[in-house]
């Protein structure tokens, strides 16, 4: 490498330096400190004990409570993801068929809530789902139920609200895939005599699959890391990983244990993202090769 090459290469680094310094000092360092913290022991009387120990991880991995906690969080995130696919894919196709003016309006309606604080949206659901709330009174008036059903502080309630909060991400992902759709192939299929349903199942859906899967990854990870919604709608009865971390840090004050749960959450999410990326890449090589 000559000196001028080095000169060329130093310009982008100089330009990135302010942001890089910020990220190094305020992201890499705190994250490393958290990883270290998770290996510290904790003593109720003396607080955080420096030195390397696996106490927290052993405590988590040997206690069925934490397995249940992670399993509950995973089930919740999986449920939200499935519902977002079932609702989001048809809605995106409906949006694509609209006239441009309506399309613009409903884009604002569907995507606009992303710009409103999740606490506000969750508060609305807290009112809607309460025992005497509108959802229960409609269900009773329609004679679907006799008594108000418990939606607040239930897993069903948390899944409904998270679906509301995260659905826009699924629609965005499917929409991006729809924009890349090659309509010629569908035309060809139809003109060769395939029915609308066959064309959709054999031509359109496979092309939308990458979008659906990237939307699913986003929705899954955001569900598993959601805090305000499970905390407000689930309360103490539906405890998930994030609310457990919050309790360890701000109520029990056992920071090392909370840090260990956080490290496991992060690893779990990385595992799911990387795993599904590899899975989809292999699958799509088969489909499109």
């Amino acid at each position: 490498m000559t000196r001028s090459d080095f000169g060329q290469n130093s310009v982008p680094w100089l330009l990135s330096m302010p942001a890089f310094a910020l990220f190094l000092g305020l992201l890499a360092v705190p994250m490393a400190l958290t990883a270290v913290l998770s290996f510290n022991a904790f003593d109720g009387m003396r607080g955080i004990q420096p030195g390397f120990s696996l106490t927290n991880y052993v405590a988590i991995l040997s206690d069925g409570y934490y397995y249940e906690l992670f399993l509950r969080t995973g089930t919740m995130a999986f449920g939200v993801t499935i519902i977002c696919i079932i609702i989001g894919v048809p809605e995106t196709l409906i949006l694509a068929r609209m006239r441009p003016a309506w399309q613009g309006t409903f884009f604002v309606v569907i995507l606009g809530p992303l710009l409103i604080s999740v606490v506000v949206r969750t508060l609305g659901w807290q009112i809607l789902l309460s025992r005497e709330g509108p959802v229960n009174s409609i269900l009773i008036r329609l004679h679907l139920v006799d008594h108000p059903i418990q939606l607040l502080f239930s897993m069903a309630g948390v899944i409904i609200v998270l679906t509301h909060v995260l659905l826009p991400f699924m629609i965005i992902a499917v929409w991006s895939a729809l924009q890349r759709l090659d309509t010629q192939v569908s035309h060809a299929a139809r003109s060769l005599g395939a029915g609308a349903l066959t064309t959709f199942g054999r031509i359109t859906l496979p092309q939308l699959m990458p979008g659906i899967l990237s939307g699913a990854i986003i929705v899954f990870t955001l569900s598993a890391s959601a805090f305000a919604t499970p905390a407000i709608i689930g309360g103490r009865r539906v405890k998930v990983v994030t609310t457990a971390i919050y309790d360890e840090f701000l109520n029990s004050m056992n920071w090392p244990l909370g840090a260990a749960i956080a490290v496991l959450l992060l690893l779990g999410i990385v595992f799911v993202v990387v795993g599904s990326n590899q899975l989809t890449e292999r699958k799509f090589k088969q489909v499109f090769a």
Binding site: P12, W13, L15, S16, A19, F20, L22, L26, L27, P30, M31, L33, T34, L37, P90, E91, L93, I94, A96, R97, F107, V108, V109, I110, L111, G112, P113, L115, I116, S117, V119, V120, L123, I127, L128, S130, P134, H164, P168, W175, S176, L178, T183, S186, S225, F227, A228, A231, I232, T242, I245, F249, L250, W255, A259, A262, L265, L266, I269, V273
Partner: protein, 271 residues
């Protein structure tokens, strides 16, 4: 995209769409309705409406100071984030260098890491550095979580740019800096401004990360609102929420004017 391929929406599709629209708007409408009630508990305003809960906001000093803090925090962190994101976007868009992809992934990583994990990492960091309760420290961590949004929009603006004006300015003898300020900057300004607004909104709305580092003197509006909601069922939460909804609608329109809402929310694919 051709409409003929997928055809028109039938009655089933339109029913589905209507129900989904109701599902999406219901929680927002119910918040606005309850905020107009004149009762001292959560109720609908149909048998007595008033602006009582809006007047109550003015009598709640902790909510007002949280609101002002959130505004100051949003402006400071969005401005600083735009300032560091702009040169970084130029570097990533215009140069091919070793570590470019890694750097981009590093700058985008706050979007992938759960905010609870970032929250505890900052809580630990603040307690070690004795930064707890510092507004400047809060600005720095908000700057970190909003930089990806600012970077993404600025990057989209730089990548989509025609460089001929800049080349003309340079060949006519303008210095690198003058060429940047007089030709490049005006062209990327809508993207930078859009990135700023999106960064402001992300900072203003964040609750999950901030709740870990907020102290009584550094409580933001969403954190104050969260605390109220979990501790009591007081209709003032709905009037505060309505003000936040109106603010979000205002920002939605300004974003739409600056860069187009579709570009912000759907995001242009960047290289």
């Amino acid at each position: 995209m051709s409409n003929r391929v997928i055809g028109q929406n039938g009655p089933v599709a339109l029913t589905f769409h209507t129900l989904l629209t109701v599902f999406i708007l219901a929680p927002l409408i119910v918040v606005i309705l309850v905020s107009l009630s004149d009762k001292g508990y959560i109720s609908m305003p149909f048998d007595g409406a008033s602006l009582r809960w809006y007047r109550e906001i003015l009598r709640a000093p902790e909510l007002l100071s949280a609101f002002l803090l959130s505004i100051r925090l949003g402006i400071a962190s969005a401005t600083l984030a735009s300032a560091v994101a702009m040169p970084a976007a130029l570097a990533i868009a215009r140069y091919r260098f070793v570590g470019r992809d890694g750097l981009m992934a590093f700058f985008m990583s706050p979007m992938m890491i759960p905010h609870v994990v970032l929250g505890i990492a900052f809580l630990r960091f603040f307690s070690i550095m004795a930064w707890t309760g510092s507004f400047a420290a809060l600005v720095l961590v908000h700057m970190l979580i909003v930089t990806p949004f600012s970077l993404r929009l600025t990057l989209a603006a730089v990548i989509g740019l025609d460089r001929s004006a800049e080349h003309a300015a340079r060949s006519l003898g303008a210095s690198r800096f003058v060429a940047f300020r007089r030709t490049l900057l005006p062209l990327i300004l809508p993207g930078v401004a859009g990135g700023w607004v999106l960064a402001f909104i992300q900072s203003f709305d964040d609750v999950t990360m901030t709740i870990f580092v907020a102290t009584p003197s550094t409580t933001t509006l969403p954190v104050a609102l969260y605390n109220r909601i979990t501790q009591s069922s007081d209709p003032i939460t709905t009037s505060v929420s309505t003000v936040m909804i109106i603010g979000a609608i205002f920002f939605m329109f300004s974003l739409d004017r600056m860069v187009g809402l579709n570009n912000v929310l759907i995001g242009k694919r960047t290289g």
